[in-house]
Symmetry: C2
Subunit: 333 residues, 2 copies
């Protein structure tokens, strides 16, 4: 049983190969009757265009690369939601997704781009000084970045507006009458790596706190229960008047609540807690956390759309910031 080719379809429908191609691509007008005949033949024979041949002739592989930082330190649920939404959205545009890990580095990107395996690139977890960015600028293939490098000039970047998110949290705590607040952030290694989003959150938070005249501070925060516990203990020792906490660290959020409980602080009576994390984590915590969600699905969808637009040759904004949304739950009032 040989695989069905476009020539088989053409013969079966009694038309030329090119006619079948035009029916399938819609790039030229075809009469309704012919179109229907061809479509029927396609169905009857179970025809699927050969991806390689199509790519070769059209110079479009209909595949995009998704470069994921498959290493420790990232929040997995978010990554997954993101990946899912990228795959789903790409399929809506009739594209598939090639999975790459960041540790293939710039060479890997160059390889898939140069071999025309993919038409475009989606890079996640872009760092401030990302070695891949200079390459991207040189590449013919369009790319969309999740996150912002130091100089986004000429690139296309998408992200949650973390500065607004940080500010939103501070605003909320201020509204609740909390006067002394602290931001518990990512593990210190993340800051050292210069991942932009952590810093932008801090900046937005600090700005809003200052605007409200609050006493505010920001601490990095590790992810194991013991380390979180120790950090919260130190925090409460240094800031006995602490009444508001923003946790920008998905893995630590649950532990923070546990630590506060053990250390005799009631949430939300004594301390209001707000997290910047995916909804599922916030909801599962006890008490449920007021949170600004990282809209991983939106980011993925938006990123794919931008990439598709670029593939069409349309021009797109350099920077797309997604508006954060605060959901109020039990942990703050």
């Amino acid at each position: 049983m040989r695989t069905v080719t476009i020539a088989d379809v053409a013969k079966h429908a009694g038309v030329a190969v090119s006619t079948v191609s035009y029916v399938l691509s819609g790039k030229r007008a075809i009469s309704a009757t012919t179109r229907q005949r061809v479509l029927d033949s396609v169905r009857v024979l179970g025809y699927h265009p050969n991806a390689g041949a199509r790519a070769l002739a059209s110079k479009r592989a209909k595949v995009i690369a998704l470069v994921l930082p498959l290493r420790a330190g990232m929040n997995l649920p978010v990554l997954m939601q993101f990946a899912t939404s990228v795959v789903t959205t790409a399929r809506q545009y009739d594209h598939d997704v090639l999975l790459m890990t960041a540790d293939e580095g710039p060479d890997g990107l160059h390889r898939v781009a140069a071999s025309a395996l993919v038409d475009g690139l989606l890079l996640m977890d872009v760092e401030i000084h990302d070695p891949r960015v200079p390459l991207l600028r040189r590449l013919a293939e369009p790319a969309v970045l999740i996150g912002f490098p130091a100089d986004p000039e000429g690139l296309t970047c998408v992200d949650l507006d973390f500065a607004r998110a940080g500010a939103l949290c501070a605003d909320h705590l201020a509204d609740l009458g909390r006067r002394e607040i602290v931001l518990l952030g990512a593990p210190s290694v993340v800051y050292e790596r210069g991942t932009g989003f952590a810093e932008r959150t801090m900046a937005g938070f600090a700005e809003a706190a200052a605007r409200h005249g609050l006493k505010a501070g920001a601490w990095p925060c590790e992810e194991s229960f013991d380390e979180v516990h120790a950090a919260v203990k130190r925090l409460l020792d240094e800031r006995p008047g602490l009444s508001g906490l923003v946790v920008h660290n998905e893995a630590a959020a649950g532990h923070v609540l546990g630590a506060l409980r053990i250390l005799g602080r009631r949430v939300p009576e004594d301390v209001s807690v707000v997290a910047i994390c995916p909804d599922d984590i916030a909801e599962r915590a006890s008490p449920a956390l007021t949170s600004v969600l990282v809209p991983a699905e939106d980011v993925g969808r938006q990123a794919v759309r931008l990439l598709m637009a670029k593939l069409e040759g349309q021009s797109v904004p350099e920077s797309t910031l997604l508006e954060p949304r605060l959901t109020i739950r039990e942990s703050s009032r």
Copy 2:
């Protein structure tokens, strides 16, 4: 700047196109001098073979599909480790990985296979009665499954030997002199879905417990802290003599320890706890959990190897069970 083709390389090296091809594929003997000349030209010109053309001519895309269950209920870190190891291993065989979500279903598999987009398939999270299995049997493309359907006849399946894992846990607890033990498993929805590994663990556990003459039981277990807490409370009420616990649920493992602490049971003095989960979770828990790790990386590597072997036309075992390893930590003695 047109992209460099094999013809450019041939001209630059002063040889025929086919010679370049043979140098690159190694499928025919080429003299050392010619080979070197060609390789130099490749380097100088920055040649990358066009993936589409290669696929078309050779009928090999050098891409495999990885079908991931990107939905709730799976353990994300494990999934990630697995995905990473698949991508890394595939690259070692000079293959790339196309990411697919399970929700494209059998049609999606058929599409990528029929369009020759991929040469083979790797399916994760195979269920007992998986609708994709009949399709796989019909497909020309080789496939490797992670997990076991009801009838693995004619397929190629890889998994941790969960029965041995369950038994290993029971053995360990018996060795410690624990006489009354319980297995806390996956959320009940997982059992209802008929995911084989959960049941096989239970079977192995029960068999070993019986062999040691232990009083044993098995409970499903949800994943939120509150539900875990409630379940553990109920468990202790019903089985006041409980002295050994096996937790086969990565998300709940940490919560179980917390619940025991709150309910006044010391670990490991009163209750020894063993988990079946990735090492990182076991290590991060407090006290650190004795655990049987799910060797996600091994599974991924092994699965890719099997798939590559099948692509070479070699015959491979229908079933590959990976031996579990128990790591003893603080939570049991």
